[in-house]
Symmetry: C2
Subunit: 161 residues, 2 copies
């Protein structure tokens, strides 16, 4: 829970986990950042406990998995009800990601997945019912995620990418 300053070992570890958090071993990471594998394991545990690393998730290509309807629903929630509403819409089927921003209008983005467009339309109605006033619905074209370059600054050459 505590906010800790990260040193170059922490940053290197996170950078390599950002490239591949499942198949990079502590041994490999240790060689790259210059410490023993057991130290890497200790550091990772500490980062997890402190909340800097909040979990590990696969990047799923829903289109390839047969779910062709993939939308970003942008809406507005009153600031004072925001946390409550976010908890509620997390329960809506097909919702896989929710972002909130600190503006008064259009302050919620909800990523919704489904097999068909009509299914997703129902789900968007469900968002409305739970307190999101939907401003617009956009078809997601592509999403790309990448490591924070600053975390990789102290690292040796990256051959495995």
């Amino acid at each position: 829970m505590t906010k800790r300053e990260l040193d170059s070992v922490d940053r290197g570890i996170i950078y390599l986990l950002q490239q591949d958090s499942r198949n990079h071993t502590t041994t490999e990471i240790g060689e790259r950042v210059g410490v023993a594998a057991s130290t890497v394991a200790n550091r990772i545990k500490k980062l997890e406990r402190s909340g800097v690393i909040a979990g590990y998730h696969p990047r799923v290509d829903y289109e390839k998995a047969g779910y062709d309807s993939h939308f970003i629903v942008v809406g507005t929630v009153p600031a004072e009800k925001r946390d409550l509403v976010v908890d509620e819409i997390a329960e809506v089927s097909g919702v896989v990601n929710i972002r909130t921003v600190l503006t008064d209008e259009e302050n919620v983005s909800v990523e919704v997945v489904g097999a068909t467009q009509s299914v997703v339309e129902e789900r968007i109605e469900a968002l409305n019912d739970r307190g999101v006033s939907v401003v617009r619905t956009e078809m997601l074209k592509d999403e790309r995620e990448q490591p924070f370059d600053h975390f990789g600054e102290g690292l040796a050459e990256d051959d495995s990418r």
Copy 2:
């Protein structure tokens, strides 16, 4: 590369990986979905090769890591230049996520991280220089990610959450 239909074993595996892709072992997953651990390993490899699973990433809390400036930059890129511009802005320091949607206006969302606001402001200028006409910049409040509930439908009770 091929689009494959997923069966309930595939869906259960992905669901459990979406909860924790680093610490859930193939053995645990096998017990939950009802197949042998080696079968789980085979399925995961197949899902990776087919592109349904495109990678594994930690969820990093940049605020707790000491990077207090975290913004979503919404901008417009002409449709015909979109892929090119996305490749370019991926190179901008501090850019960790890029989403594109199929609309003519405000079709790109870029997530930018930095230690101070002035650093991030420079980076937003860099986005402009590379072809994104920035419409607005929003402070990210919170982001939540969760498994696709449909993948978990065939699963036994979830005690480990």
